[in-house]
Subunit: 187 residues, 2 copies
């Protein structure tokens, strides 16, 4: 649980009581490669913290598997389009490397917001930062060729290319596996 509180400190330090309140509504999940942590069409009621392992959020568009994004150690995993709307998600979370994950019950967490405004503030800041990342990603997608997007990934997040099958990387970049292979071939 310590890794989680260390992570929180970067956003908003918590009192001991607040940490305990979060610990009380959390549990540790270990899950094997290729399993779905959460399946498609379930409503997201859990916020996850990746202690160890790799995961991705994916969905199907016209029958094709598309990766929305990847998650590595020390990051928060959530399908926000379900978590914040209460609607079922069309997306699933899949484990790509045997993982150890902390699961926080979001229904209870949101109740804690009423008692501990420091917790509400913490998660406000966490999701503000995630929002900024997402806005920046749109910029990357809007006017760059596949090759430029690949090279950017190579520099900014080499983890992805070392720990994740290329077929998932391709759809993440918005291209087919063939195009990705072609681009990598340019060397």
């Amino acid at each position: 649980m310590d890794a989680l509180f260390q992570y929180f400190k970067k956003f908003n330090p918590l009192s001991k009581e607040a940490e305990k309140a979060i610990a009380d509504i959390s549990s540790i999940v270990t899950i094997k490669k290729n399993k779905d942590l959460q399946p498609i069409s379930h409503t997201c009621k859990t916020i996850y913290f990746m202690k160890k392992g790799v995961a991705r959020i994916y969905y199907f568009k016209d029958g094709i598997d598309i990766t929305e994004r990847f998650f590595f150690e020390n990051s928060i995993i959530a399908r926000v389009e379900s978590l914040f709307t209460g609607k079922p998600s069309r997306k699933a979370i899949q484990i790509l490397e045997d993982a150890e994950i902390i699961a926080i019950n979001s229904t209870q967490l949101f109740k804690l917001y009423n008692t501990y405004s420091e917790i509400e503030r913490l998660f406000r800041k966490i999701f503000e930062a995630a929002y900024v990342e997402t806005v920046n990603r749109i910029e990357g997608m809007q006017f760059h060729s596949a090759e430029e997007r690949y090279n950017a990934l190579l520099i900014e997040d080499p983890n992805v290319l070392m720990r994740v099958p290329l077929k998932y990387v391709a759809s993440f970049l918005g291209i087919t596996q063939v195009s990705l292979s072609r681009i990598r071939g340019y060397r």
Copy 2:
């Protein structure tokens, strides 16, 4: 100011005092078409509410003007990648139709978060909703042809095509003006 509080009600109703506190740090701006409400490379310290008019966020990539998104009546305008990080923004806000805008001083607003947790909650919810919209937009960009993206825009946000010059729509869709013209030609 009333339009703003009406808008807030959809997210988190405020007490009269909280409304007054926000009114005290806000001002009304009227600004003409084609003017920049905020220029590139300024750090964003204002959250805007569009009462009347149209605006866009844009930036330059390799010397080319790219539109990130549009804003119409009854929406919050902010360059979050600057607002939430304190860094200067590479983006500007430009007015596309004579506008009447409410400007909220964000430095003072963030201070109000300490006194009025209802205000912190309100803006948490506003930006959570904006975050969800942004995540959904990535989905639209990841695996659709330019023609599909155009048709989706035609259905979901016809305002854009009726009130905004096509050259701005093109870069918003991630294509050139020539491609957009070609697609529209298919009729």
